[in-house]
């Protein structure tokens, strides 16, 4: 089965999950092919999924190398209910003024992100959902 290559809208049930302040699990592969998974903050807005990271971590390097990622959303009340969203990386956007990570931090913690550490650089990923699969959703 070939993966779609056009952006899809998230179905209503998945969209409702995406509104909750839950983490998404980002699945990528490292250079040696091993699966890497990280729980991260996210936002679904304007039809895209937005993530933000410190540039020093491994998972954003994987996302950039693979030009995409697999995201998992699990219903916090019903663990058997989950959605898997295959995404393509549209754009990597620098976040020098940390507005974007502040925006995400407010979604989860109701206040701005911590002060950046010396030398810390942040980037935002704009991800395009291409395919949504799942269970009981």
């Amino acid at each position: 089965m070939a993966d779609a290559d056009q952006r899809v809208e998230l179905p209503d049930a998945v969209r409702q999950l995406a509104q909750l302040p839950i983490l998404t699990v980002v699945g990528t592969t490292r250079a040696d092919g091993a699966v890497q998974m990280n729980p991260v903050w996210f936002e679904y807005r304007d039809g895209y999924i937005w993530l933000n990271s410190n540039t020093g971590r491994t998972w954003p390097k994987n996302v950039q190398r693979e030009r995409g990622a697999l995201l998992l959303l699990v219903d916090p009340k019903v663990p058997d209910r989950f959605a898997q969203i295959r995404c393509r990386l549209v754009e990597t956007i620098p976040d020098p003024g940390h507005e974007q990570i502040d925006r995400l931090a407010r979604r989860y913690t109701a206040h701005d992100f911590r002060a950046l550490e010396p030398g810390e650089e942040r980037i935002t990923f704009q991800l395009e959902p291409l395919k949504v699969t799942g269970q009981e959703i």
Partner: protein, 133 residues
């Protein structure tokens, strides 16, 4: 080479929440799915039907990663990289029934036939529980 669990990880893995497992599809892309698990004597055990995608992936590439994430506190998580070292039939469904008791505190309600149990040996542990990124 297998790694030992720290005391903190030993305690964390006894808490009751599903693990998210990540395996490699044929084209190298990732698949993730939440599953029941248990950790015993340093190995992780999961259970499923032989027709599950993740089991097919593991037979081709035994590498598997488990993400353990406390559903009540998103800052408590661990990533366990490992590999399938063994699998066996689960005749009579004894193992899935044991997992059912761990998660639901009662007998497994679904058919107990055609299931397998998979042993995973951890090779690398990172995340917030041990404070290693």
């Amino acid at each position: 080479m297998a790694v030992d669990l720290s005391p903190k990880m030993e305690a964390f893995t006894q808490e009751v929440f599903p693990a998210i497992i990540g395996t490699n599809r044929k084209d190298g892309s990732v698949e993730m799915v939440p599953v029941w698990f248990e950790q015993k004597d340093g190995s992780f055990w999961i259970n499923g039907g032989t027709n599950r995608g993740w089991f097919k992936h593991l037979q081709r590439d035994p590498r598997i990663t488990l993400l353990l994430l406390d559903p009540k506190d998103m800052f408590r998580w661990a990533q366990v990289e490992g590999k399938m070292v063994n699998w066996a039939e689960d005749p009579g469904g004894d193992h899935i029934n044991q997992l059912s008791h761990r998660y639901l505190k009662h007998d497994y309600q679904n058919p107990r036939t055609g299931r397998i149990k998979v042993q995973i040996e951890p090779t690398r542990i990172t995340g917030a529980i041990d404070g290693r990124r």
